[in-house]
């Protein structure tokens, strides 16, 4: 199972030199750490390299390592349909967290990145439509950050929340029709 690690590492080193750090192979996944400014090139390379063909983006998610610094991390899980290999790429991000968007490489990254933005406030630069996806427009804070209280802030609808400014109320469905930000990439 582990024979492909040297291959992936060698191919990466040929292209990117020492910038990509290898984190080892565990539980069926090869892990690498990459600097944020290389993420798009790296993803495109992994997807298009004929020996690797990581053509399927499984997941993008954020991790908050508060109070450790650098605080945030964007984690990408890639899968190669022809080879059945899995790769994890981790990107440590400072505060405020910013990372280039990979929507140009996979269209499926669109919602994953919107979710990560909504939950962790990681800004994906170059994303065509970076709106909140779970919470409503106008919601304050990023709920999955470690310093956001689990129960939110107290108001009439949730008397168990933490003390603080009560959350804004969402608009009714009929009001918040999006004006800009066309999210359809093709016609």
């Amino acid at each position: 199972m582990n024979v492909e690690t040297p291959l992936i590492r060698t191919l990466m080193a040929e292209r990117f030199g020492e910038a990509i750090e290898e984190l080892g192979f565990s539980h069926g996944v090869h892990a690498f750490a990459a600097p944020p400014d290389m993420i798009v090139d790296l993803c495109r390379f992994l997807k298009e390299d004929p020996a690797l063909q990581f053509d399927f983006l499984s997941d993008i998610c954020g991790v908050d390592h508060y109070p450790e610094m650098p605080r945030y991390e964007a984690v990408y899980h890639l899968f190669s349909l022809p080879n059945k290999w899995r790769v994890r790429i981790k990107c440590r991000l400072g505060d405020p967290p910013r990372v280039p968007s990979v929507t140009g490489v996979w269209r499926t990254a669109n919602w994953h990145e919107r979710e990560t933005w909504d939950m962790y406030g990681i800004r994906f630069e170059g994303h065509p439509d970076l709106r909140r996806i779970y919470m409503w427009e106008g919601f304050e804070g990023f709920p999955q950050r470690k310093d956001f209280p689990l129960r939110g802030y107290k108001d009439k609808l949730n008397p168990f929340g933490a003390e603080g400014s009560p959350p804004t109320q969402p608009d009714l469905a009929t009001k918040d029709i999006p004006q800009g930000g066309r999210s359809t990439p093709r016609t």
Binding site: H27, D59, V75, L81, Y134, W136, I177, T184, R186
Partner: protein, 404 residues
């Protein structure tokens, strides 16, 4: 304005059309839950679709960070509530990988059997719900009749009809009850005939065929690019099934076919699910034949409750361990894992970051419905408004899983 509209109306004194924004949902009988679609319409044609989700966002991932690993099982039940045993299995596998343990063989068979029962129950609902969305009410009533049989079986095993929470880290909660095998054999005998009934009901129904064949076609390249998985991707001709390609539990001992189809339209997606139910019955039958006797839970008192109570009653250490386990949970070594299984909807992955405490530092659910729903971007353009319902129904999103 789409090309079709321009062609169908004469150039001279053509009526000027204006794009209309239409809200479909969040309360709509055909959105399978609380999904809201903002549709930009040109006449009857859908120009653009913007799905709004989050109406069922319950904060599962954040909540899991404050729960012990055993307490998270009930939360995973409520992700894809049509097939809770699969979700339990996915989570248990992820934690077991971190711990470096494996459930006993009998437990693995029980889990796989339950996951396949869940797959049937999940697919049954869509088998009935897609025709119902298109106006054929009868199919749902038949499908729900068979679904009740599965509910009865799950209730027999776990005591709950829907949210079984039957898996534990290192095994299952208890052994199969007496009298279970004849019941499930009876189900396996009856069910394939019932599948033929659905086919007779719908495969020759011209309205159903007209409304699904050639509608919402997704090519294989688009499907991969959009991150589709499971039957939705297999219907587009991509031969990928995690059960076969990265076998977990005892799937490598079982003989089953991976159903694919080349068309990639709504009918193919529906058809794939119907065929998969047949394969699931085959898998269940093999599980029943091969299931060995033996323990149903790993013998590690720090992780699983001991199966014989005498040990707890007679030994002080065992009692303390038991108390410790139920009050604080078990510690999981530091590390991270991404573990994916073939859930009924597609690739269900759990990414867990552990900091060595009894609670996960971060739990991310890679839910298949969330990604599958995104495929609406790729297919819904230049379809009639009524076809939207067929496309949405055939993608089979479960909103609790989409919103987590």
């Amino acid at each position: 304005m789409t090309e079709v509209t321009e062609l169908s109306w004469p150039e001279t004194d053509a009526p000027r059309t204006r794009e209309v924004l239409l809200n479909l949902g969040p309360q709509h009988p055909s959105t399978h839950g609380v999904l809201r679609l903002v549709l930009e319409l040109d006449g009857e044609y859908v120009e653009r679709v913007d799905p709004h989700i989050g109406y069922l966002h319950r904060g599962t991932e954040k909540l899991a960070e404050s729960f012990t690993y055993t307490q998270i099982f009930p939360l995973t039940d409520r992700l894809d509530y049509l097939c809770p045993p699969s979700n339990n299995l996915a989570f248990a596998l992820a934690v077991e990988k971190l711990l470096g343990i494996q459930a006993p063989i009998r437990a693995q068979y029980i889990r796989v059997m339950m996951a396949e029962l869940a797959r049937i129950s999940g697919h049954l609902l869509i088998t009935g719900a897609l025709p119902m969305d298109l106006g054929a009410m009868t199919a749902l009533l038949y499908a729900m009749r068979e679904r009740e049989m599965i509910m009865d079986l799950l209730e027999m095993i776990s005591g709950a009809r829907m949210h079984t929470s039957f898996c534990r880290v290192g095994g299952v909660r208890e052994d199969l009850p007496d009298g279970f095998f004849p019941k499930i054999r009876e189900f396996c005998d009856i069910f394939p005939n019932r599948i033929r009934d659905y086919e007779r009901l719908l495969d020759s129904n011209r309205v159903f065929l007209k409304r699904t064949q050639g509608i919402g076609v997704i090519s294989a390249e688009d499907g991969i690019d959009l991150g589709l998985s499971g039957p939705n991707l297999r219907a587009s001709g991509v031969d990928w099934d995690i059960r076969r390609d990265e076998p977990y539990e005892i799937y490598d001992r079982l003989d089953f076919d991976v159903i694919t189809s080349q068309e990639g339209d709504c009918y193919a997606r529906w058809r794939c699910r119907v065929e998969e139910m047949r394969e699931s019955v085959r898998i269940i039958e093999q599980c029943l034949d091969q299931m060995p006797d033996g323990p149903f839970q790993i013998d590690m008192p720090t992780i699983a409750f001991p199966t014989d109570k005498d040990r707890v009653h007679c030994s002080m250490e065992a009692l303390i361990q038991h108390f410790d386990l139920s009050a604080y949970g078990f510690k999981v070594p530091k590390g991270e894992v991404y573990s994916a299984i073939e859930a009924p909807k597609g690739e269900l992955g759990f990414y867990i970051v552990s900091d060595g405490s009894p609670k996960p530092f971060r739990m991310k659910v890679r839910s298949p419905s969330f990604v599958n729903l995104q495929a609406l971007f790729g297919v819904a353009n230049a379809h009639y408004l009524a076809d939207m319902i067929a496309v949405l129904g055939s993608l089979d999103p479960v909103m609790a899983e989409v919103d987590k």
